[in-house]
Symmetry: C2
Subunit: 298 residues, 2 copies
């Protein structure tokens, strides 16, 4: 058995809360040999209700913590709001490649859609940014976005398989497809544009299977992000990202091979470690272990 | 017509967000001649997911803004989390009387309850603080508290008269009364321990009228707080509050009389003025007008 030792790259994963643990879960499945440092800026969540300037400042501080103090060589911004509003600011703040969740979601939608019309559900802040619509447009897709602010609290309440949640999803999707029809769109793809929504995927697919809306394929942007991270590692495509020069070694070699090596995960939060530890394991699908408290100021 | 002129006292009202506008609405009804300065610390909401230390620091800064920069002579903490976790810290930070929302809610419950057993619904953070249970116990009441984390998002979604919301309320109240029965309690009073809940009062009373749970009287802690503020003004009972010495004039005289004098209201927020202005009028039941952005740091 070979050991990856110090060669194992550290991937920093950042979210305003702990929803991004669904992205970490998908990353672990794709890159099980990497080291992961996850930071939830729980003291300052939700980013969604804050201004672009504030979000950029918070996200840059968080990214710097992961790179400077945890040695992250690659950052995944597992937060739709920060990806939508602060990706440039984060990239400016750190000298490593940064991948957000929106571009991978749009890329996966492009691959999935035949009609070229896609639906996006997300939080209010993500929708207001129109970041998915812009990313989809760059891929030649027409996207209709809808804010679904009840879905995050329903997930956090644990009602991921509940009749009330199914009814809320049905109402949201009915409103969204009615609006799509009114705009002359013919959507065949639904992008889950929030890191909490992967936990609702079975229920969403069940609502869709019952005809509302019919025959729509679901794209999970958490999974799409892990896929893109995996491809970046495998194909040495980091040149396509800014900040790639720090990667002196091909990360692909450093995460390949030793599948028996356990994944190393460290989780950090800026506040409310208790809620993080209590709910986090549901999102990560394994115990999050001891969450370490860090103070980023503010 | 007499004019109150500079005599009209300024009452500072503070919340982490804009839910506390329901308390301001109740205060305006009771003290229409006062000046009001409302601050929503929207850049740092929700307080509920933060630690006591963090909440105390944020709340003290906010209180100081209202007193030092807006000239508030009396503070109402229209935020259950701050009232539960930081009332002492706020009182230490400012030299004026401070009234929270929890003690008035418990006082009103004491007046309403015959059995001495009360139910309290609130956010997760308020319930975890057990502040209502402690305040009720001090009045000789037994209180059973339940976190209802879906109700705030349902109010903010505007679903205050929606079948989904009625179903959620029914589920929460069924769970709560089942737990009360299991503990041998005989509750006859339900305290709404969150500033968003007054907007759900008609729906909650409708669910109760349909038998779940039967014959429970609803206490709205926003209204109870305004009542207590009114009594404090009227009876010069400020001696019962710390920090009363700054009130050199009996406030009662300064708010009485000229009912034609329009209430002066200034609203401040630390971020997200747009959402505040959009949703705030629903809570205040009148236009909130131009919300002024302030920077408290952090």
């Amino acid at each position: 058995m070979t050991t990856v030792g110090n060669l194992a790259p550290t991937i920093g994963v950042f979210d305003s809360g702990f929803g991004g643990l669904t992205v970490l879960r998908a990353l672990i499945q794709r890159l099980p040999q990497a080291r992961f440092a996850f930071l939830g800026d729980t003291a300052r969540l939700p980013y969604g209700s804050k201004s672009r300037r504030t979000i950029a400042r918070y996200a840059a501080q968080s990214a710097q913590f992961l790179v400077r103090e945890q040695g992250a060589e690659f950052l995944v911004i597992a937060c739709n709001t920060a990806s939508a509003l602060a990706l440039d600011a984060i990239q400016d703040a750190v000298p490593v490649p940064v991948l957000g969740v929106i571009e991978p979601g749009a890329t996966a939608a492009r691959a999935a859609s035949r009609t070229g019309d896609v639906l996006v559900i997300a939080t209010d802040a993500t929708v207001h940014s129109h970041a998915y619509a812009a990313a989809c447009r760059a891929h030649g897709l027409r996207a209709l976005e809808k804010a679904c602010p009840l879905l995050v609290p329903l997930v956090e309440e644990g009602w991921t398989d509940h009749s009330v949640t199914a009814e809320v999803i049905r109402i949201y999707l009915q409103e969204l497809t009615a609006e799509a029809a009114a705009q002359g769109l013919n959507p065949d793809t639904l992008v889950l544009g929030c890191t909490h929504y992967p936990l609702l995927r079975p229920l969403i697919e069940s609502v869709i299977a019952h005809g509302v809306p019919a025959g729509i394929r679901v794209i999970d942007s958490a999974q799409a992000t892990a896929e893109m991270a995996f491809r970046l590692f495998g194909r040495q495509e980091f040149e396509s990202l800014p900040g790639h020069t720090i990667l002196s070694t091909c990360l692909d070699e450093r995460v390949g091979g030793d599948t028996a090596h356990p994944t190393e995960i460290r989780c950090f939060a800026t506040d409310s470690v208790e809620k993080f530890e209590r709910l986090g394991s549901r999102f990560l699908d394994r115990p999050v272990g001891k969450v370490e408290l860090v103070d980023l100021g503010g």
